[in-house]
Amino acid sequence: MSKLEIKNLHVSVNTDQGPKQILRGVDLTISSGETHAVMGPNGSGKSTLAYSVAGHPKYEITDGEILLDGANVLEMSVDERARAGLFLAMQYPVEVPGVSVSNFLRTAKTAISGEAPALREWVGDLKTAMKNLRMDSDFTERNVNEGFSGGEKKRHEILQLELLKPRIAILDETDSGLDVDALKIVSEGVNRAKANTDLGVLLITHYTRILRYIQPDFVHVFVAGKVAEQGGPELAERLEAEGYDRYLKASA
């Protein structure tokens, strides 16, 4: 069992006009096996939350804490967080020219588990995971995210999720830019990871569509840098029908 606790998190970002407050007191707790959906309007700070947990240097934590099984995540470097079991599927995965997917995945696996994976087992796992995500085997020879379509980038993120086996994963708009078929494939991947490793998931999305494939246990409405309301799956349906107007008026 793992538990990620985000308490009273305040985050600002440095802009040319000085620091800008984005998160204003976020409280969220995610445990193994649970799926939390976070929904909210553009610019409400969802990606900022994801990046802050992962440790992106651009964001400054001005107050609050993040704990993983009681350990202070804010004191860890980015790679230490990853090795502690946190994973962020990026909204915009980054290109790494000249580095093949196969080299990248093997290097990451080695870094996460502290030793190089046994070759035969690794090749087998990789093949299976790629087949499950309907990825061509020659995909591994391409350079990381270079020239990938939107759908390929997202599948590649989920491939990493399945191979690196984190304890808690944050998926930042993994559903955006996917057609229905790709959405199903990607959702299956997340569900497999949940079933196989009891993964805890924080799923950031604008739409209920993905929630039909990945059942959330909790839905959090994110407005102006904090959680405005939370509830069960039924809250997502209501948000889709009514939008965020109610919350935006309240926060204005």
């Binding site: 980054v94 790494v96 000249g98 990248f104 996460i112």
Partner: protein, 386 residues
């Protein structure tokens, strides 16, 4: 030991040089002005690091400071320079090259007989083991239809003024690599000339890893139709290095192809690299296809990369000509992405630098050199304070 007499048109020193083909060419030291930062060709160079290479009389590389390991069929001989066919591939265009030319009484002549196809590489390793200014002359002849690989490797301590001539016979293919992996305290000015026969193919790769001052100026004359040159360069510079690379392609004959691609990574205060890429497409060079590129990755603040592509085109009847040059800071988003996958900062940087340089490293196609380069990247990025 000084030899005179080989001379092309000269406009005399001091006349401002307009286009590349107007530079004087001569083996006589007096035909060139003293080395000065006022001349474009020396403008970036830390002249104080040239050591003795600007003196008119310097020593000469001894045979025992050269280790030669040849593939079967390839031969190497030390020949009196007056008897060797020196000047076959080109003539000096600057004073330091003329000094080295004049002071090398012997020339190391490497012959690849015609029709020899030898996939094993031949190695010439130069280790002067001295900080006295030394001259060297190497002449490589590749016979018609021959095909092979030659590696010229410079290591240890040295202050070397060098001329390397490469003559490719018709339809021949050479994969040539010159490595500058000098110890601290070394200075190396290498002037390289290549002349390509009809339909011949040269891959010329420059690998610069160490040395206080390394200047490599490979000039290629495409004077026979259908010849193809690929000039590659890869370099890793830190605070202790100044590397200057000036590739030059002279398109004279029709339907020749040239591709120039140099990539370097720099780190540390004072690390400095210079790349000046000249391509001249003469009026006669109809059907030319040419491209040149230089990219630099600055890993830390305080490193400097100068990059200047020069393209002169005298005919409109070409297939294509282009250039690209860019120097960029290390991408923090790449670093974050890799760290978010568990790689620590050093591992992440290694992967990015290897990735950045891989395009060129892959072109070398000599396993042990590729491994050595990858090893050098690993070592370089593990240095403290990076």
């Amino acid at each position: 030991m000084a030899q005179h007499g080989i001379k092309e048109h000269s406009h005399g020193a001091g006349v401002p040089i307009q286009t590349r083909n107007e530079r004087p060419r001569s083996t006589s030291i007096e035909d060139f002005a003293e080395v000065s930062k006022l001349q474009e060709i020396w403008r970036y160079l830390p002249i104080d690091k040239l050591k003795g290479l600007t003196q008119s009389v310097i020593g000469e590389l001894t045979e025992d400071s050269v280790e030669i390991k040849l593939a079967e069929g390839v031969t190497a001989n030390w020949v009196e320079t007056t008897k060797a066919k020196v000047g076959s591939a080109g003539l000096p265009e600057d004073r330091i090259a003329a000094i080295a030319w004049t002071n090398a009484s012997k020339t190391l002549v490497i012959d690849v007989p015609k029709e020899l196809e030898q996939s094993q590489p031949s190695f010439v390793v130069i280790k002067p083991n001295s900080d006295a200014a030394t001259a060297a002359h190497i002449l490589i002849n590749v016979g018609t239809h021959a095909k092979t690989t030659i590696v010229l490797d410079h290591t240890g301590l040295g202050v070397l003024g060098e001329n390397v001539e490469i003559v490719l016979g018709d339809e021949s293919t050479l994969n040539f690599v010159t490595i500058q992996d000098w110890d601290k305290g070394s200075t190396h000015v290498s002037t390289q000339f290549a002349k390509l026969g009809r339909n011949s193919n040269l891959r010329h790769t420059v690998v610069s890893l160490g040395g206080d001052l390394v200047r490599v100026t490979p000039a290629v004359e495409l004077s026979s139709p259908g010849a193809e040159i690929n000039m590659y360069g890869v370099y890793l510079a830190d605070s202790s290095n100044y590397f200057e690379h000036r590739p030059y392609v002279d398109h004279i004959a029709e339907n020749c192809k040239s591709n120039v691609a140099y990539k370097g990574a720099l780190q540390g205060v004072g690390a400095h690299t210079v790349w000046v890429g000249d391509v001249l497409i003469r009026e006669t060079a109809v059907g030319t296809d040419s491209y040149e590129l230089n990219r630099n990755l600055l890993l830390t603040a305080g490193a400097r990369a100068d990059s200047v592509p020069n393209l002169e085109i005298e005919t409109g009847k070409i297939e294509g000509a282009g250039h690209a040059s860019a120097s960029g800071r290390f991408d923090d988003e790449q670093l974050f992405y890799l760290q978010a996958r568990g790689l620590n900062e050093t591992e992440a940087k290694k992967l990015v630098v290897r990735g950045f340089l891989s395009e060129i490293i892959q072109k070398i196609e000599i396993d042990e050199i590729e491994q050595r380069l990858i090893g050098a990247i690993e070592l370089e990025l593990e240095k403290v304070g990076v």
